[in-house]
Symmetry: C2
Subunit: 189 residues, 2 copies
DNA sequence: CCTCAAGCGGAGAGCCTCTCCGGTTAGGGT
DNA sequence: ACCCTAACCGGAGAGGCTCTCCGCTTGAGG
């Protein structure tokens, strides 16, 4: 890749990050290109689909989430580890203002780019490990599947995003999920 | 209201119902007007905002849902009554293809029309009665609030809508909500 | 039958996404 | 050091969207 191309790519990415943080899914790609100081054509050449742009933006976050998940596998309380991680997933999804939710929420992801699907899979695998541990521990019912659980968490993140005023909505809704009750018995203090 | 105006209003409503059923929230108001055989101006005169059009379309459904709720208050199992009703709410929200979810999901509803808010309130009141009964029965934990519960159901409806292929997703996700476990103990067969 | 307010509809402004292609330029080969 | 070309750029423009405005049409009361 030519140096100028790499440069433009970076600029677009920075502008996109800012635009998504400010306007959420409603951000205009037009304006992203403009505020990055490139033409629309350049934006679309680097990121042919919205999904491609997304993956480039959230790639690092996904990696961080997976690492956090691995760390949490060593946490003393399997149930609390799962809860903590799912909350992190939700917060991350919310930070992306529904954009991620809309694309990552549902496993089959109709028009998903391969890269987007890969992100999903990494999240899923990390979650599966945490969930399985919590289930072996008996703290979470065995009939719960990781895919549905993540879908539900994404839905919660999305809806919380619709009510930015209510900062505790996310936690209240997460607490409504089976196995996610906050102050569970296993603490026994 | 003049007879021709009433006529046009009806035609728009029919076209809108069809369009939302087919294309969901992505339906173009332009095309609705066109397929109703009226100009865009006519559509916007009758329904100044998307919310107004929505209320006109779902008004009947909301009434039906409330009536169903009242009937279910007489059901032998309070928990099952609540489950049944929430599922009906979710199915209705799904049928409207996310449109309702996007507007009705969150109680404060930022730009909500008064009429839309009234719909929400009627649903909320009906749900509150069913929930309270189930909680008195001890079948549903007492720390659950109806507003959050409905928000969560709307979120589930929305996300299910994103995966139209998976027809059981809605039920699986509902089953992940505390107090909504399907084959609960109270059946005792 | 006449009048005129109520109602109509489509042109158009101002957004958006996404494509296309002629002009520009980086940087490897000589 | 210079040239050549493939890679890259950007913006004009097509086509679609929402929503407004206003001159024309028409239902229906007097």
């Amino acid at each position: 890749m030519r140096a100028d191309a790499r440069d433009n790519r970076e600029r677009v990415l920075r502008a996109a990050r800012a635009a998504f943080a400010e306007h959420g899914a409603q951000a205009s790609l037009n304006k992203i290109a403009q505020s990055a100081g490139v033409g629309a054509g350049t934006l679309y050449r680097h990121f042919p689909t919205l999904g491609a742009l997304l993956v480039a933006i959230i790639g690092d976050d996904v990696a961080a989430l997976c690492e956090k998940g691995r760390d949490l596998l060593g946490h003393e309380s399997p149930a609390e580890a799962l809860r903590t991680w799912l909350r992190a997933v939700a917060v991350h999804a919310t930070a992306m203002r529904g954009l991620v939710a809309a694309r990552l929420a549902v496993p089959p992801a109709p028009h998903a780019d391969a890269a987007l699907a890969a992100c999903q899979e990494r999240i899923r695998a990390t979650g599966a490990a945490l969930l399985e541990r919590a289930q072996r521990d008996g703290a979470v019912p065995g009939d719960i599947g990781i895919a549905d659980l993540l879908t539900l968490v994404n839905a919660i993140a999305w809806v919380s995003e619709q009510a930015p005023d209510d900062e505790y909505l996310l936690d209240r809704l997460l607490a409504l999920v089976r196995g996610m009750e906050p102050s569970a018995h296993e603490e026994g203090t």
